[in-house]
Amino acid sequence: MFAPTIHLPRRRTRTLEGSPWVRWTLITLALGFLAVFLFVPLLAVFSFAFQKGWEAYLAAITEPEARSAIVLTLTAAAIAVPLNLVFGLAAAWLLARFRFRGRALLLTLIDLPFSVSPVIAGLIFVLLFGRQGWLGPFLSEHDVHVIFAVPGIVLATVFITLPFVVREVLPVMQAQGSDEEEAALTLGASGWRTFLRVTLPKVKWGVLYGVILCNARAMGEFGAVSVVSGHVRGVTTTLPLHAEILYNEYDFAGAFAVASLLTLLALVTLVLKKYVELRSEAS
């Protein structure tokens, strides 16, 4: 086989790129936009956080209420992410492999947490589990606290982050088809083995990408969690809620110190996301 080398005339590429004047205007616009809306706020977060020095910063993020907020945030994410990982894989498998009545409805419902305002999402749980809600009397009879307690925060987080894994995995599964799975079956592999050895390796980068996004949202969610939390300090406050409380009490240094933790999380997420993208393109 000969692969002929094609030399495109130089002028052609220039036409596609446009004139230097257009190019530089666009680059300046894009960079200017990024500077105003991203870099300046990022700098602001850290400069406010450190305005009273290192010690004040460390104190703000190690005091008991901050520590409890960190623990609660990690707990909610540690429950929500695995749950949505399992649900996401199962739902993506179902939607990619089978055509059934109600499939379109299921696809729409999965997007519901994205399309509904987070505050409304939180209210749904208050209406369900709150004292005046449908299940309220039953729950208080059995002394189970959901709203204004940790279970409510976990529930709201799971709901809000539900679409991430499905949405990332489904297109990957659809694009790759089911030929390899069928081949594995004809070679004698059970359905479970086929899933573990063939399907999962095929979609692993999509899964990882979904998990990273899911985790970022689980830790950063404010609206829905705020509604169900009740703001019991040191008990039902996650990191974003804790930052808000400090801010409302005019403790700007403390609020931004907590906010800087979330910012760091966002930066780590971005780096991981980029890494996963590069790896999945390479494989």
């Binding site: 088809g177 390899e180 069928e182 081949a183 079956l185 004809t186 070679l187 004698g188 592999a189 095929k202």
Partner: protein
Amino acid sequence: MSIIVEQLTRRFSPGGSPAVSDVSFHAPAGAITSLLGPSGAGKSTLLRLICGLEVPDVGRVLIDGVDCTSLPVQQRNVGVVFQSYALFRHMTVRENIAFGLNVRKLPRAEVEARVDEMLRLVQLEALGERHPGQLSGGQRQRVAFARALAIRPRVLLLDEPFGALDTRVREELREWLHALHTRTGLTTLLVTHDQQEALEISQHVVVMSDGRVAQAGSPEDIYDRPASPFVASFIGGASVLRGHVLEGRASLGSLALSVPAAAREGEAVHAYVRPHDIKLARSGSTEGVTPFTGRVQRFKPVGGFVKVLLRMPSGDEVTVQVPRSEFDALGVGEGDAVRADVLTASVFVGDYAI
């Protein structure tokens, strides 16, 4: 190990036309049997029903005389090769071939030995550590064969195995498959839409159309004695001459051929003539049995042959294939009249329908 299929029917949507409809055939043990037909004829569905990836609505599948219709695909022990290769892209060639053996929990040493044996069989000894993405199409397809054969299957099912390859590689692999079959003697079922492939490497051909078996028999049977107008036109690229029964013969313009005994006087007749079953002669010569005169519409040299499009006095157009030297000796051009002798034709009585 023969494959017997009995009255298989598979319908994908209730009320829709079935993909496979009341199909019965017998693939003899140790032979290559081709399922031949145009796309959409239900060949692949039939293959999936036999290997267990689809479940029939009605009918039975027997492998080696044993009914395995309700046996799950994992337990049928059949080797399947897909058109898309379906190799596990994240595994090396060796890991691909070993997959079915590891499923069977064979000892490690035996797995390694079997993988080596398979790599030798498909002549890919040097490429064991490569990933499928680093192989050419032909090499990938050979890995797919090695993977399917490694499990020592009872029968080998091939779904358009060379469909995605270019012509030269196709022809090479066809030869290779023939040699492989001679070595293994495995009962093989080959799904293909390529009649050349089917006629060349199989001992038995099942022609399918619209989910049904149109004709089953040896390649010679199918080619020389097509059972229906569909088979006649699908195989060999025959041209159609229209006419009617006149005095017990098929009258096709200036041409008369014998017809099936049951034909009634005046009934419509269609004769299917293959491009190389017509001999051309200079107009005016008188030898030959069933001559007619046509006019050269177009001609086009294709390799060693010349494809000539003739227009009959009746208006029918006939494609003729003549060796180049013969055509040059004729010395005719576009618009000239030539005498054509029909050597053989398949005559069908009834309405024109393909």
